[in-house]
């Protein structure tokens, strides 16, 4: 009787009356602990998973040019200067800064408000654009070519906002988030020409007095 009793029906008759039949064990395993462990691991991995991977934003700075002949000049009619102050405040003016007794063209808004100002100014500049097919307008062609290359079906209108230039001047009290936000605003509104420029003392003074008047700390 060295063979293993398989418990099958065919071997049953060999056993004597005193030999007890081995108890048939159920093949079913209790899976509850395994499931418990499984879900524990799921919860762990859900919590540790990094769902939002950080992205990269391109920033291209112009080279500092000391030669005044090579400097880019912005048309006054199409220029919008945006200054960033403390407390997430935004200040702006169109064209040149005018400060005289009758008042000035220096205005204040917030990050929510600046979008509409950019959109309006862009529309205004685009409306004023005169289509010039002469060779002198090579920049216009470049812009169209670029849009065409990118696959924009609306490439013919790509240079309408050619004269629209945004000058960004973060002041020393503004923070990095403000800068990224305003650069993002340029992408959102498809502003093609913009530059980050050092703020002028006069403008900084003006911001400071405005901040004092409005009680922004």
């Amino acid at each position: 009787m060295s063979s293993i009793d398989s418990g099958g029906g065919d071997g049953g008759h060999k056993k004597g009356p005193g030999v007890k039949k081995a108890k048939k064990l159920s093949t079913r395993v209790d899976m509850t602990p395994m499931v418990d462990l499984g879900f524990l691991l799921i919860t762990f991995f859900i919590f540790t998973a990094t769902m939002s991977t950080p992205k990269a934003m391109n920033l291209l700075m112009p080279k500092d040019v000391n030669d005044p002949k090579n400097q880019n000049e912005a048309k006054e009619s199409g220029a919008l200067t945006i200054m960033l102050g403390k407390g997430n405040q935004v200040y702006y003016y169109f064209g040149q800064l005018k400060v005289d007794a009758s008042g000035n063209n220096f205005q204040q808004t917030t990050f929510k408000g600046i979008r509409q100002i950019i959109i309006d100014k862009r529309k205004e500049v685009m409306g004023r654009h005169v289509h010039d097919l002469s060779d002198a307008d090579s920049r216009c062609k470049d812009m169209q070519e670029l849009a065409k290359k990118k696959g924009d079906p609306d490439w013919q209108n790509a240079c309408l906002d050619r004269d629209f230039v945004v000058i960004i001047k973060p002041d020393p009290d503004s923070n990095y988030k403000n800068m990224v936000d305003i650069l993002d605003e340029m992408t959102i509104n498809q502003v093609k020409t913009y530059a980050i420029v050092k703020i002028l003392d006069q403008e900084y003074e003006l911001i400071k007095t405005t901040e004092e008047r409005n009680g922004i700390k």
């Binding site: 990269a56 291209l60 700075m61 080279k63 500092d64 923070n175 509104n189």
Partner: protein, 224 residues
């Protein structure tokens, strides 16, 4: 009248499909999880609409934390020897001597946030004791005549030029860091004629109806 006998059903349910699904989800999460790399300093990055992927190799990262401290780190998991070359080059430019152990230790250092005068002392420490940058004052950048970050960038740029591989430049700043520090970081890049670099941001959707949104709708394939 014979009464109808309902068969007694067992109360335990078959859990097999349930377990199958559970383990399927589990294996998905195990595969999909990428552990957050250890951050040398805590930064809360701002949002932007940019959706470009962040490079993980062959990049250097400049970190600016909320207290305006600047840190420098090398991202090259694949080729760790780059780190040695960069630190050797940087110390050569500054005429500092480091021991081979210190150079070796630079690989394990998550980020450098000390002036060059204290670099040797930092690299003498065990990376675990460097305390994730807590005691580091940051690389001095605000002095325009001695922008030490520029040296680090120059060293990295030269090392990669010798290797003949492109190098990506990343700036990861905390939203609350002040503009003058960011400006100093940008000018450190400019000093090395490095005018293109990337800002690390987290993704945000373009507002509906904006010019970018319209452009994306016009050409959905060519999203930036």
């Amino acid at each position: 009248m014979p009464s109808v006998k309902l068969p007694r059903k067992s109360t335990d349910t078959d859990m097999t499909p349930f377990v199958d699904i559970a383990f399927l989800i589990l294996s998905f999460f195990i595969m999909a999880t990428k552990f957050k790399p250890q951050e040398p300093v805590e930064t809360k990055i701002p949002n932007s609409v940019s959706s470009e992927e962040l490079p993980e190799n062959d990049a250097i990262m400049v970190l600016v934390d909320s207290t305006n401290r600047v840190f420098f780190s090398v991202l090259s998991e694949k080729d760790r020897s780059v780190s040695d070359k960069i630190v050797t080059k940087a110390t050569e430019l500054r005429q500092i001597k480091l021991t081979p152990e210190e150079i070796q230790n630079f690989r394990k250092t998550p980020a450098v946030g000390v002036p060059f005068s204290r670099l040797s002392a930092l690299l003498d420490m065990d990376p675990a004791e460097q305390n994730a940058g807590a005691g580091q004052p940051g690389i001095p950048v605000l002095d325009s005549t001695d922008n030490q970050l520029a040296t680090w960038i120059r060293a990295s740029k030269e090392v990669y030029a010798e290797l003949g591989r492109p190098l990506k430049y990343l700036v990861k700043g905390d939203g609350a860091s002040k503009y003058p520090t960011i400006d100093a970081v940008i000018s450190a890049f400019k000093k090395n004629d490095q005018l293109k670099f990337n800002l690390v941001t987290s993704l945000e959707k373009a507002p509906t109806g904006s010019a970018l949104d319209q452009l994306n709708n016009r050409m959905p394939a060519a999203k930036e």
